[in-house]
């Protein structure tokens, strides 16, 4: 099917009244939870997974995708007005966005973010259309060793790139892989780790695990943090940016679109990293970098464009290779599995309605977001009056009723509760649930591919290295591991924080430039190797001061 035929089919799916309703619901919910602190896109999608059971697969993905990119819009609002990022990808928007608000330019800041997000999203959709079909054609040739390589690469990148402590993340990934083996072995039929519980024969339910770890775990964790009532004093007027604003930020939007698209496609990428990268890029390109942190509109336009572009392009690996690039995509992957559809290279041919329908709906969704955001910012801001405690009570009840509805089995409610406790404890002890869930989702694919590879090769491991494609991927994996290990050791020797993320924020944060200050490059993008500004990020800037934490497992 050609691209035009595909898009034609896609729009016929996306323009179906039901699907229009769901894409609207998705972007609306996404914006709302983006505004509300304490409930990120990951938690929301996890909580809503059971509801997708009841609707058509294409519709389900359309809605979940809408929540994802919608939340990127919503997070901006609180970043600009309150210095409180509603979700992690909007952290850098705080630097200049809030300054603009203090100067009475909150309107243009939000306006340019909405326009930039729209452009970034649209560019990314076009990239997705062009890149996905050839990639899927290539992937059809993949054998088991290539799948071992790809899934292992995905897990590895998520554990190494997106987290503070690679070893802790790897530990959680191992736990996720182990949990995925619970239940009957698909090849021999042997029951594994079931402890003679009939409920465990089919394995742990993905929905229950994800809802527990992300939904309940995150709600509990946020409840424990101190809660502050927020007051909005800023008046918002003149949302639409001036012609000069557009001229100033057009370059940032263009670069942010491309950067966001590229970083979103890579496993382990996503909103947070791409917005940080865009901020660093804009700051370095600027003629006068000292303007950054004092209300430079490029510092809002670039990152906001990039995080939206990346949230769209993250669908490329999922829809073509069947590999979720980050945790939100892992949840969407799970939603498709529930519907009996395994995302992969065959998806375009076997379920063109899903592939093209989702893509076409993204056009519509981005347009809706632009239309919603520009006039309705004032309304969304009022949502901040809802207190986290009230939200938590209702979200938990939805969780419990929702997870029951998947299999009509109270056992799943206990699974949610147990994993909720586990998720909360993990957050308190610095273990991140993201790698666990990603590994849990990919575990059965990885195991099957591994065992098939072993059968193919007669137990020889060189099958992974001698085949050109899997060999290349494994070589890349080795490079990532060696590089980050060496860096980690060097950094510890110099007494710098081992946390990858703190360092990135630090180097991206605005402030007085300290020429000649020793600043080690950050590993997440080649451009940032010679970042020139280093400053301690004050606690208010780092965590927004509210219940929202900078949290890398939220893409």
């Amino acid at each position: 099917m050609g691209i035009l035929d595909g898009l034609g089919e896609g729009f016929s799916v996306a323009l179906d009244p039901i699907n229009i309703l769901y894409v609207f619901l998705g972007v609306l919910i996404g914006t709302v939870i983006g505004v509300l602190p304490g409930l990120g896109p990951t938690a929301t999608i996890a909580l809503l997974l059971p509801l997708t059971y009841e609707i058509e697969p294409a519709t389900a993905v359309i809605m979940l995708a809408g929540i994802y990119y919608g939340s990127m819009y919503g997070g901006t609002i609180t970043s600009v007005l309150l210095r409180l990022p509603g979700e992690a990808a909007s952290v850098v928007t705080v630097f200049d966005g809030h300054q603009m608000a203090m100067q009475g330019r909150a309107g243009p800041a939000l306006g340019i973010a909405a326009v930039g997000s729209f452009i970034g999203g649209t560019v990314s959709v076009i990239g997705l259309i062009l890149l996905a079909p050839p990639l899927a054609d290539l992937a059809v040739e993949f054998g088991p060793p290539e799948y071992v390589a790809l899934t292992a690469f995905g897990i590895l990148l998520v554990t190494y790139l997106g987290t503070k402590h690679p070893v802790k993340a790897l530990c959680m990934a191992a736990l996720g892989l182990l949990l995925a083996t619970i239940g009957q072995d698909a090849i021999t039929g042997t029951t594994r780790f079931t402890f003679d519980q009939v409920e465990l024969f089919d394995g742990l339910d993905f929905v229950a695990v994800a809802m527990g770890l992300f939904g309940v775990g995150e709600i509990l964790y946020n409840l424990e943090q101190t809660e502050k009532a927020e007051q909005i004093k800023t008046r918002i007027k003149n949302i639409w940016p001036s012609r000069r604003d557009f001229r100033d930020s057009s370059g940032a939007i263009g670069r942010g679109s491309v950067l966001g698209f590229v970083l979103g496609v890579l496993p382990g990428g996503g909103g947070v990293i791409s917005s940080l990268a865009s901020y660093a890029l804009e700051k370095r390109r600027a003629k006068d970098p000292t303007r950054f942190g004092k209300g430079a509109i490029e510092g809002v336009a670039g990152p906001e464009t990039a995080n939206n572009a990346s949230s769209t392009s993250a669908f490329v690996p999922l829809l073509t290779l069947g590999i979720p690039a980050n945790v939100v995509l892992a949840l969407i992957y799970g939603a498709l599995l529930i519907q009996g559809i395994t995302p992969g290279p065959q998806l375009i041919d076997q379920n063109p309605d899903i592939f093209w329908g989702v893509i076409a709906s993204m056009f519509i969704g981005n347009l809706m977001l632009l239309a919603l955001n520009v006039p309705l910012v004032g309304v969304f801001v009022q949502l901040l009056r809802v207190r986290a405690g009230i939200l938590a009570a209702f979200a938990l009840l939805i969780t419990m009723a929702g997870v029951f509805s998947v299999n009509n089995d109270p056992f799943d409610m206990w699974v949610v509760l147990v994993f909720g406790v586990v998720g909360w404890l993990m957050k308190k002890t610095g273990f991140e649930p993201g790698p666990l869930v990603l590994a849990f989702v990919l575990g059965s694919i990885l195991e099957r591919a591994f065992r098939q590879s072993m059968l193919l090769s007669g137990g020889e491991f060189d099958i992974f290295i001698t085949r050109p494609l899997s060999g290349t991927i494994f070589a890349l994996m080795a490079a990532v591991v060696i590089y980050s290990t060496v860096r980690g050791i060097r950094r510890q020797r110099r007494g710098r924080p081992a946390a990858l993320y703190a360092d990135q924020l630090e180097s991206a944060a605005p402030g007085q430039d300290t020429p000649g200050a020793e600043s080690e490059g950050t590993s997440w993008t080649p451009e940032s190797d010679h970042d020139d500004a280093t400053r301690e990020v004050g606690p208010g800037e780092r965590d927004g001061g509210g219940s929202t934490r900078v949290d890398i497992d939220r893409p």
Binding site: T181, A401, F450
Partner: protein, 147 residues
Amino acid sequence: MSRHLFRLAPLVLLLLGIAAMLMARDLTLGEFRSPGPGLWPFLCATLLALTALVLLVVDDPEDYEPWTRGTVGIGLGLVSLAVFIVLFQEIGFLVPAVLMLLVWLRLFAREPWRWALPLAVIGAVVFHLVFVEALGVPFPDDIVLGG
């Protein structure tokens, strides 16, 4: 908090990994040429145990947040959820839902009774309508509805 208490988490993971390795071995490992059902879990468990062992030595105590008074509240909240699940199976959705919402709205949101009570009742009824009437989920028989 004792200086080494934070090592408890890696220790638990290490023991979990070793236990899983032993259980996987009993499932028969086979060999790489013809993998048995226990081989893959054994490899995963080994990775878990090894990483946990590394963490036991190198982990950063600063990662671990202290227990606060809020923690006690979370514990109470969890108990209320467990009670909800038990009651839900016995007497249906409505009564446990109202009770759970009441506990949470009073305990965590600190809403006054005049707000908490109507919110809880309305919330429970709305969720009942959504899940049972609109989505057709077969909740256990409800004592309120005389099921």
